[in-house]
Symmetry: C2
Subunit: 418 residues, 2 copies
């Protein structure tokens, strides 16, 4: 079969199967999810055998140790993957929830009810657990899904996907509700991204290059999960002990994730005392600092932050540092150089906290805590498919509810409009 | 100035001015809106003089009488335009509304608050009142707007826009919060559609060709206001008197709009009696019918509906008619051929009404009333910028609330994540 025909089979298949999952009961969906988890655990050896093929190919191709590690399906990770699927089964079904409603003066009764988006296409890289995570979130929210994973994980993804298909078939659900793209040929991807009328949304999960390529090619709507250039601003009069603990956590606890701090802003009135306490902590943690002139004067020997540093998501133990003269300067810096992902202020001043919350244009703004909280599970939303950096539809954590849309229902008794 | 530089000036200008309108008080925004309305009324003669330039050019270019009519700024239309702006001033400000919030077990306090989208770009055709309508909705919802109207209305749009700018300046608001593209050169448009980081959303309002071109070129998110292939299904056992009144209204009251009926489906058990009553009504209204074989047998002489007819938005006194054997067949036809805009059932059966509401995948589904209600004002949402046929962000009427997004606010006392 040629690529275009295969893409058409995937997209029409998903559309045809989408009605079955959209109208499936919560009980059926949860049963299928538990069966997927059972299958994953029962076929651990098969998963690891297939995973070994990817690892061998990866070693051959010279993948870094970090990438090979992310690719590996250890016993623990297989158990965690099954556990995550069961967790989704335990979440509240978003479909059918009435989110608003009223009666009009003419007696028409209106409401808005949550319904699935329809067909979701997820394009992702390397980690094979995304196959199970994304499929279970889409299944629970009543969506058909087309999964397009990276070529490095193709055998692992196929092995996991087989457990999903088997669970659907065992429960009498059309397995086309969760299809994995079986080829690694990149020529297929544009056909998915331009399948208007068949694919309702594309969610790219991966590096900037992947996301940019998807946005440039897609004609169907895209929800981006882009970079996090996150800031912490230590205000004049801040509790410096709290500030040190927050700034250590935001940078060091897990530097490779999108909600980790990349730039530290410090009010000039606190800079000397704060750096005296903070500097040794970062030194001990192995953090490389890149500073403005003022911070270099206070911490001699640190590197110079360039214009490019302020715009960089390091995802590493590197931090750019700037001394600012005022709250306004901090806000302006964040709105100018940040990526509107997650930004925090450490302060004791009520009015300045309010101004920061009002004027920083980010998906999540924090007072006296770490940006690392920005996560659907931590926010109490259950599992998430990612953190949207878009402003439309979903901003911040994209959980089950954000995988739905709504429809209007209008009930009359023959009323006509004048 | 070259086109690219001019586009850059528009988009960076809008971004720079967006903070001023995002943080403006409701009182200031409403004052500016009333001043726009005042300016429009006080400069009626100027508006009509400029409008005459467009009309003369339109006559020269051979525009149809219908298009010339839509373009004309009569006294009544100028008053209606000013009235619409005042109405927006009277609507509730969506910005700052807290839409959800809770406390986490660790004591973190979260909420979600509505904030403006940022910079909205509206691309529209012919009718000059859209300039005032779209600008006032964006202004009230705290957004900067870039308006790109059709070349047929350029002088009228410029004249209206001048009233908006003057009102902003008089109240000390940066007039770049509402900019009109001053050139009709189409080469400018792609620069707006690809202004990632400057334009937050593009809303095309116009025909299918315009919308398709926007979707294919844009890298910034688009919310489409596409066609309405709307159905009414007359169920077995329906109140036929009600059905006749609804089907007359849905087709004839205003056939040129997106929520008018384009296809009538009738259960075979009612077809003979219903057509006997309905046929003469449509004949009197001058409606051309195009039917399936069964409806042709019952109404001899009507034209044959082709496969293409089921997919056509006539926007005219033409109606395709089909006799169906069951509710299932009606639902399948609607989901297959419709545009998921507005679809109605006329029925007395409770279970079948529920099934129709559940299984028809449209933005708005109606029981025992006309699809023509599908409108933000009629739904009680105040003015609308259009009816979204997308599933993401806004589905159906796009009113003030849909011109906002939200941000998460998280308040802590030094809590850190394990």
């Amino acid at each position: 079969m040629d690529i275009e025909a295969y893409a058409g089979k995937l997209t029409t298949g998903a559309r045809e199967a989408s009605g079955a999952i959209a109208n499936a009961s919560t009980a059926l969906k949860d049963t299928v999810l538990h069966r997927i988890a059972d299958n994953i655990l029962q076929n651990r050896e098969f998963l690891q055998k297939e995973n070994e093929k990817d690892l061998a190919a990866g070693r051959e191709a010279g993948l870094s140790a970090a990438l090979l590690d992310r690719l590996t399906l250890t016993d623990n990770r297989i158990e965690a993957m099954a556990g995550a699927v069961r967790k989704v089964a335990g979440l509240k079904d978003p479909v059918g929830r009435v989110i608003d409603g009223w009666m009009l003066p003419n007696g028409l009764k209106l409401d808005k009810v949550r319904v699935p988006l329809g067909v979701v296409c997820i394009i992702y890289e390397s980690r094979p657990n995304v196959t199970a995570d994304a499929a279970s979130l889409c299944l629970k929210s009543g969506n058909a899904v087309i999964l397009r994973g990276g070529k490095e994980a193709i055998h692992s993804n196929q092995a996991i996907h087989r457990q999903i298909s088997a669970a659907c078939e065992a429960e009498g659900l059309d397995p086309r509700i969760a299809q994995l793209v079986q080829t690694t040929d990149r020529a297929l991807v544009p056909h998915l991204l331009q399948a208007d009328g068949y694919v309702d949304v594309v969610i790219p999960r991966g590096g900037k290059g992947l996301i940019r390529a998807v946005v440039e090619t897609a004609t169907v709507p895209v929800i981006k999960h882009y970079e996090g250039i996150c800031h912490t601003y230590v205000d004049r009069g801040a509790d410096l002990e709290m500030a040190v603990a927050i700034c250590r956590h935001a940078k060091c606890q897990r530097p490779g994730v999108c909600n980790a701090m990349e730039t530290l802003l410090v009010h000039e009135a606190e800079a000397e005392e704060f750096f005296t306490r903070m500097g040794p902590v970062y030194e001990q943690e192995g953090v490389e600092l890149r500073g403005c002139a003022a911070s270099q004067r206070l911490m001699p020997g640190i590197a110079t932050a360039t214009e490019q540093d302020w715009r960089t998501e390091y995802l590493d133990l590197i931090l750019s540092v700037k001394v600012v003269g005022s709250l306004e300067e901090a806000i302006e810096h964040i709105n100018r150089y940040g990526s509107a992902h997650s930004d925090a202020i450490v302060t004791t001043d009520f009015a300045r906290a309010q101004r920061f919350l009002d004027e920083v244009n980010s998906a999540a703004v924090f007072v006296n805590t770490t940006t690392r909280w920005h996560d659907g599970e931590q926010f109490g939303l259950g599992a998430e498919i990612g953190i949207s950096t878009d402003k439309l539809h979903a901003r911040g954590p994209m959980a089950l509810e954000e995988l739905t849309t709504y429809k209007w229902r209008v009930i009359g008794e023959g009323q006509l409009r004048e």
